[in-house]
């Protein structure tokens, strides 16, 4: 073992290390990541210390051997959407532009903890989309069959099949009785913060500098080529600059003169007081906007539609809150007396077709990852993987080949819902 490997080995998490540290009063645990000052220049500067930026750094280092990398985060690590989402992972997509990408993400989730030596509590408890009508069933069948043709697991359940999973659902709802569901057993939840921390720890151990409280205030470009970024801690040079700031993509992109097919929107999420286990799967309502799972701590974590107007405020208003509660009561009225203990907001990059962008930009050396709409968290590993590939090899990864910026001009949009160029409808 070389010194680097020894250091890594000494910091390995295991039951043995947990016991050994318990005996010594837990005084010997090391910081999960270093807190370095930025160097004058890096091969790659990643803007955004969220899940995607940190995953990109990890895969750049691990898969491509590029370790002279800095991740710049304007606030604390993981302060954006990676710590604000509802923790759901799934690959139950419809279109060929999306399916291979999200399935690769699912596969990376499945091996994440061993890869990172960090327990992010990947819980493959299953994702169930209930349906209430024949047209809805047909649309889910089309989707489920597309999944199966791509080698992704999917099951079409009838009422009895749904009942086995979620007996407390209001099957005979007076308006929208449950007729069945599309189930992806491999979908589930992941402890969101731990994803950021696990990637940060892994990237840090391979030498990536993670620099918090370091807002990027400018992108220096000369003759159409990026030279580096101006930051709260001074200029940092870079051969390549990778933007990974979903929610604020337009704001940061504007620093390089980019105009994007993106609007920023707020979405709220909610958690109830902790209760004993009630819901074992992730479930979505088909006749309104409501989806729910139960955290390991016991709170029901749920959400609904986006607020629907451009916003950078990271919060929402009452109409969506009421709409979500109504959806919850229509689907599972046993939760009526449970109480919401906290609501919060995240910022979404809503694109014009509801699908993301991983691509080069017109500025040489400037790369873009964003436009994740609702799909950002579940995409974290694959987005990091494919963005790292693009940065390392200057060509799109095959799984992200459809996520090009020029698709809007050509018309090869990836519109899962068929809503057209209206971001708040995706």
């Amino acid at each position: 073992m070389n010194p680097y490997e020894r250091r890594i080995a000494s910091m390995r998490y295991s039951l043995a290390s947990l016991l050994a540290n318990a005996v010594t009063g837990n005084c010997n645990w090391q910081p999960v990541w270093r807190e370095p000052e930025p160097k004058p220049a890096y091969d790659v500067v990643i803007v955004g210390g969220g899940g995607h930026g940190l995953a990109t750094a990890h895969y750049l280092a691990k898969e491509h051997g590029i370790t002279n990398v800095a991740v710049l985060e304007k606030s604390y690590l993981g302060s954006g959407n990676v710590g604000r989402n509802t923790t759901i992972v799934r690959s139950n997509y419809l279109l060929p532009g999306n399916l291979p990408f999200y399935e690769w993400s699912m596969k990376l989730w499945e091996g994440l903890e061993q890869d990172l030596n960090y327990n992010a509590m990947v819980s493959q408890r299953g994702v169930l989309n209930v349906f209430h009508s024949d047209p809805q069933r047909d649309a889910y069948a089309r989707r489920g069959n597309a999944m199966r043709l791509h080698g992704v697991d999917a099951e079409l359940l009838d009422r009895d099949g749904v009942r086995k999973l979620v007996p407390f659902v209001d099957f005979d709802n007076a308006r929208f009785p449950v007729r069945g569901g599309l189930f992806q057993a491999r979908g589930g939840t992941v402890r969101h913060d731990a994803v950021a921390w696990g990637y940060a720890r892994a990237a840090d151990r391979r030498g990536v500098d993670i620099i918090q409280n370091c807002e990027v205030t400018g992108i220096r470009i000369e003759n159409g080529r990026v030279l580096g970024v101006e930051t709260a801690k001074g200029f940092v040079g870079a051969n390549k600059v990778a933007l990974s700031v979903a929610g604020s993509s337009s704001r940061v992109g504007a620093l390089a003169g980019l105009r994007l097919p993106i609007e920023s929107h707020s979405v709220q999420a909610f958690v109830t007081e902790s209760i004993k286990p009630l819901i074992d799967v992730v479930m979505t309502f088909g006749a309104g906007h409501f989806y729910v799972s139960q955290s390991d701590k016991g709170g029901l974590v749920f959400g609904g539609d986006i607020e629907g107007y451009n916003s950078y405020a990271q919060r929402g208003n009452m109409p969506v809150i009421e709409d979500v509660a109504e959806g919850g009561m229509a689907l599972m009225p046993v939760i009526g007396r449970l109480r919401i203990v906290r609501s919060w907001g995240g910022l979404l990059d809503m694109t014009m077709d509801g699908s993301p962008i991983i691509d080069k930009t017109p500025v040489e050396g400037l790369y873009f990852n964003g436009g994740w709409c609702y799909g950002g968290f579940k995409a974290t590993p694959a987005a990091g993987w494919c963005f790292a590939h693009l940065l390392a090899r200057d060509e799109p990864h095959p799984y992200a080949a459809a996520y090009r910026l020029d698709r809007f001009a050509h018309g090869a949009v990836i519109d899962e819902k068929g809503m057209g160029a209206q971001p708040n409808l995706h």
Binding site: E35, Y118, A146, L149, G188, L278, A325, G336, G411
Partner: protein, 991 residues
């Protein structure tokens, strides 16, 4: 134990004449009207009330308010069970049933308490470091075990049987909190003439005045409260008791929950349990008081350890003493008042422990008054007793340790302003070094703060700041307040020099009680790099419990500051977010449950269809007749019969749900040319035409028919699903894109009842309905004709010769109020010709037989070329979507295009949602060439048929493909055919 052994002989705002019986963990106990469950439990000497989240530590009652982290119970039973209910906020009512939670087998003996022994392993974030091997064990072994151990109470066992109300209110000044500051605010604002709403979370006005023995104007403060209440009742002030303002939203919108009937066993008939208020206030004054801080020391969570202010509340307001031998441990003079209040009721105060380095003159005076030994510059170093405090060790500065027996420890680390509502719109609190507390920072528009919420802790200061806030709020609303006499009061001591934590104490020192976050956890987190409050919270769960860190967050910041060598203000705390206290999901949903989840739209023939025994289906908000069963028929039989009857005789179907829009004006034709892909300005008066509408991105948005009733008058129909969307789109085009056009739009979907009368005998039926003088012969009224006529003796009607079924058919519209009469008339007149009603299922079969694209094909992903409508794209004019539709990708011949599919095996059934692959190719993504959009059993052809989208479909007619449906394990070979299966020449509709 005798009944109410800890009830004081006198005092308290309880009605001793009204005994209330209740039960806790099955034991029947009594209290008085005016008690909370917490005060009644304490009165009965019950100290052990719950168990903590992680270590299952025995817990008692820490507070007397909504900030309570420990005393959580399951209230009520069965469908009304409410887990995690704070005993400190439950008003006692006769027959109340409560049970402790998160313990097994009993509250006193909880097996899971063994977790405490493993605390060194179960430190902050331990789960991130283990449970990784083998990977599959997480879901199967580790997670289920963790989930079972976690959680607190249990959800109800059945749907919530109560109902919930919603109300809107508008006011000039909303006052949140009715303590001295809130009452003073409300009085000044209301006296100035402002419309005031005063919201108080408690069932009694007065706030802190209920718990203290203050005087105002030389009389007991409660006299002043009573007078204020009376005066407010005489002014324009609505007082909402039991009402918590829980969230602040944009535009001066405040959300509040009124607990209308939580203080009784069952809501009376026709009354809601709770009411959600949405209050729009021009000005709002937050006068929500303050929350006391615990001190962090070893075993500070033992039952019998309580916040000092809470002890005073129980003594003064409820006439209950939480113990008989009390120790007061604090870092401020105000809390020592507790000793006097206890001593005055005959409770022995055995020690006053002052954690401050400098002895306090004031404290010494109080000690003398309470006859309590005073320990200056001392701390409680150790607590003995597991399920109740038995004694404490007090460490003096000279190193001496005094062990003192006691059964009550009142503690106080100072107070935090209740400023949560000031942060809901992203406001950040600021550190006030004088108060050693966070105080409100920048406030949202229209909001101000008063009293303790603003850091004005003294009574006189509260009254003064309330008066000022009320006056200013009234002025901001345009009122001219007069000066009124100020109430006189003294300020109690508000000096603060917090000690936060006892470094030298033994045992687990809790910061977040409910979530069992201790000093060691925070130290470990800091050691591992989690040094900002957000990281600390997320790593240790500090502040994530049901109380959201109301008592623990700032202490956590203080411990973190201590570990990392900063000061508390520099560390700060995490963001407070709505709701202020937890809100029931039922209350947010209100009446929108069950059948009232969404408004139901009923077609004009609904009542008649019900009489016929129709089976209905939800299509969006509409309830439509799906089919009309007859005795002995299966659903499929009914649909087959209805379809066959249309093809051979005549049927009638309610199509009123289609979107209907009047388009009028001299530029109506030009306007339609711009919104439709095809041309309408050339349509002759008295004719209708199929229209295709694109989105601006070039994909198909909607279709329908539009009839020209006059030069400047068109009548448009849209699909049922897109009616609202199309109207909105057209109004955008009219108002924003082309305001210069003379065109007006009105949605008349609700105004016209419209029926399709279809089948070879359709004209025969209509002839009997149409008033004399209207010639509807094929010559006079050919296919696609339209006109305004009268029916049934003078009823105005519109007749369109349109056919969705491919048969001779009409759509007839009458004003909606005649809809019911018309369906009855059609059925009566049609009887002679074998008329039968048909529902949307038969409608669907008829259109699939004819190959008209509908919902499954108009899915927002298809282009005009895909659907075979490329010819409709006019090249002579601009229209919405024209430019983008011409992009090569949208017109690519390789795209999936609209086809018909006929199973080779005539018995086989193709499934909608199946995918299409070449006949001999593997069913993989690589070979995926399309999908099935719609299917139907065709009674006309005697087999199943399907429509779908297939790559290069129209070039492949005659080819056999496989419809694969791995979800259902089916595969069907199908011939690709043109989408129209019946009468492809369209002869039958022109006869």
């Amino acid at each position: 134990m005798t009944s109410q052994s800890n009830r004081l002989r006198d005092g308290g705002l309880i009605d001793r004449a009204k005994t209330v019986r209740f039960s806790f963990d099955g034991e029947t106990l009594t209290g008085y009207q005016g008690d909370t469950l917490a005060s009644a439990l304490l009165a009965n000497g019950k100290k052990l009330v719950g168990r903590s989240f992680k270590y299952h530590r025995p817990r008692g009652i820490l507070t007397a308010g909504s900030e309570e982290p420990n005393a959580l119970v399951e209230l009520r039973t069965g469908a009304r069970r409410e887990p995690n209910t704070r005993a400190t906020t439950i008003e006692l009512y006769d027959g109340l049933e409560a049970a402790s939670q998160n313990r097994w087998p009993s509250l006193k003996f909880d097996v899971m308490a063994v977790n405490q022994l493993f605390a060194p392993i179960f430190g902050a974030g331990f789960y991130y470091k283990t449970f990784m091997w083998p990977a599959s064990f997480w879901e199967k072994v580790y997670e289920p075990a963790i989930r079972r151990a976690a959680g607190l109470g249990r959800a109800a066992s059945a749907p919530d049987p109560d109902h919930y109300d919603k109300a809107h209110a508008f006011c000039d000044v909303l006052v949140i909190g009715s303590g001295p500051a809130g009452l003073a605010t409300a009085l000044e604002a209301a006296r100035a003439g402002a419309r005031v709403i005063l919201a108080e979370e408690d069932f009694r006005l007065g706030g802190r005045l209920l718990a203290e023995r203050y005087e105002i104007d030389g009389k007991p403060a409660l006299d002043w409260v009573r007078a204020a209440e009376e005066e407010l009742a005489s002014l324009d002030c609505r007082i909402l008791r039991r009402t918590t303002v829980f969230g602040v939203y944009d535009g001066g919108t405040y959300a509040a929950i009124e607990r209308v009937n939580d203080h009784v066993k069952l809501p009376p008939a026709h009354e809601p349990r709770q009411r959600l208020w949405k209050i729009v206030a021009r000005q709002a004054v937050v006068a929500a008081g303050a929350i006391e801080r615990p001190i962090v020391f070893g075993d500070n969570d033992r039952p019998g350890i309580m916040l000092a202010g809470a002890v005073r509340t129980y003594v003064n307001r409820y006439g209950v003493t939480p113990g008989r031998r009390a120790v007061v441990f604090t870092d401020n003079d105000d809390a020592f008042q507790t000793a006097v209040d206890l001593a005055d009721h005959g409770v022995e105060v055995v020690a006053m422990v002052d954690a401050r380095a400098m002895p306090s003159v004031k404290a010494k005076e109080i000690a003398a008054k309470a006859k309590a030994p005073y320990f200056a510059n001392s701390v409680v170093q150790r607590v003995r007793g597991r399920q109740a405090v038995k004694s404490v060790d007090i460490a003096a500065p000279n190193g001496e340790v005094h062990r003192i027996d006691c059964d009550l420890l009142a503690m106080s680390g100072g107070w935090n302003p209740t400023l949560h509502l000031t942060t809901h719109l992203n406001g950040k609190p600021v550190w006030n070094a004088d108060l050693s507390a966070l105080v409100p920072g920048a406030l949202p528009p229209g909001m101000s703060v008063a009293g303790a919420s603003a850091g004005q802790f003294g009574l006189a200061a509260c009254l003064a700041s309330g008066r000022l806030a009320g006056t200013e709020a009234a002025k901001a609303c345009g009122f001219k307040p007069k000066r009124h006499k100020a109430p006189k009061a003294a300020d109690e001591s508000t000096e603060a020099s917090p000690v936060w934590q006892v470094e030298t104490s033994r045992g687990k020192a809790f910061v977040d009680f409910q979530n069992d976050v201790t000093i060691s956890d925070i130290k470990l987190a800091a050691r591992e790099g989690f040094r900002v409050p957000e990281h600390l919270k997320r790593y240790t769960t500090l502040g994530m419990a049901t109380d959201q860190g109301k008592t623990g967050n700032l202490n956590g910041a203080a411990v973190l500051a201590n570990v990392t060598g900063r000061y508390v203000g520099a560390v700060g705390t995490t963001t407070f977010r709505p709701p202020f206290t937890p809100v029931a999901i039922s209350a947010l949903a209100g009446h929108h449950r069950g059948p009232d989840f969404r408004p139901a739209r009923l077609a004009p023939s609904h009542k008649w269809a019900e009489e016929q025994g129709a089976v209905f289906v939800e299509t969006g908000p509409w309830l439509r007749a799906l089919y009309y069963p007859r005795a002995g028929e299966s659903p499929q039989d009914s649909v087959n019969r209805e379809v066959a009857n249309v093809r051979t005789q005549v049927g009638v179907c309610d199509v009123s749900t289609l979107g209907k829009i009047e388009v009028q004006g001299t530029d109506a034709g030009v306007f339609l040319d711009r919104v439709y892909a095809n041309t309408f300005s050339t349509l002759p008066v008295g004719k209708a035409r199929y229209g295709l509408m694109l989105r601006e991105d070039g994909f198909v948005m909607d279709d329908g028919t539009t009839a020209r009733l006059a030069e400047d008058r068109y009548f448009m129909t849209t699909t049922t699903a897109n009616a609202v969307k199309v109207m909105q789109h057209l109004e955008f085009c009219q108002q924003v894109l082309w305001p210069e056009l003379d065109v007006q739009l009105v949605s008349v979907t609700e105004q016209w009842a419209q029926y399709a009368v279809a089948g070879p005998r359709a004209r025969d039926v209509l002839q009997r309905l149409v008033d004399p003088g209207h010639d509807i012969s094929n010559e006079a009224f050919p296919y696609l004709a339209c006109g305004e006529i009268n029916v049934c003796g003078g009823v105005p009607a519109r007749l369109y010769r349109l056919s969705f079924s491919g048969e001779l058919a009409y759509e007839i519209g009458v004003p909606a109020r005649y809809g019911d009469a018309l369906i009855r008339a059609i059925m009566m007149e049609g009887a002679a010709f074998g008329i039968q009603p048909y529902g949307t299922e038969a409608l669907g079969v008829l259109r699939i037989e004819k190959g008209h694209p509908a919902g499954g094909e108009l899915n927002g992903q298809t282009t005009a070329h895909d659907l075979g409508f490329g010819k409709l794209l006019s090249a002579k004019k601009d229209f919405i979507g024209r430019f983008m539709a011409a992009r090569p990708v949208l017109a690519d011949a390789n795209r999936e295009k609209f086809v018909g599919l006929r199973p080779l095996d005539r018995e086989a059934r193709i499934r909608a949602g199946a995918h299409l692959v070449p006949k001999d190719a593997e069913a993989t993504a690589k070979n995926d060439q399309g999908y099935v959009t719609s299917i139907a059993y065709s009674p006309s052809l005697g087999h199943w048929l399907a429509l779908g989208m297939l790559a290069r479909g129209p070039e492949r007619h005659g080819e056999v493909v496989r419809a694969v449906d791995p979800l259902r394990g089916e595969e069907v070979l199908a011939e690709v055919v043109p989408p129209c299966f019946v009468d492809p020449e369209g002869e039958r509709l022109r006869v």
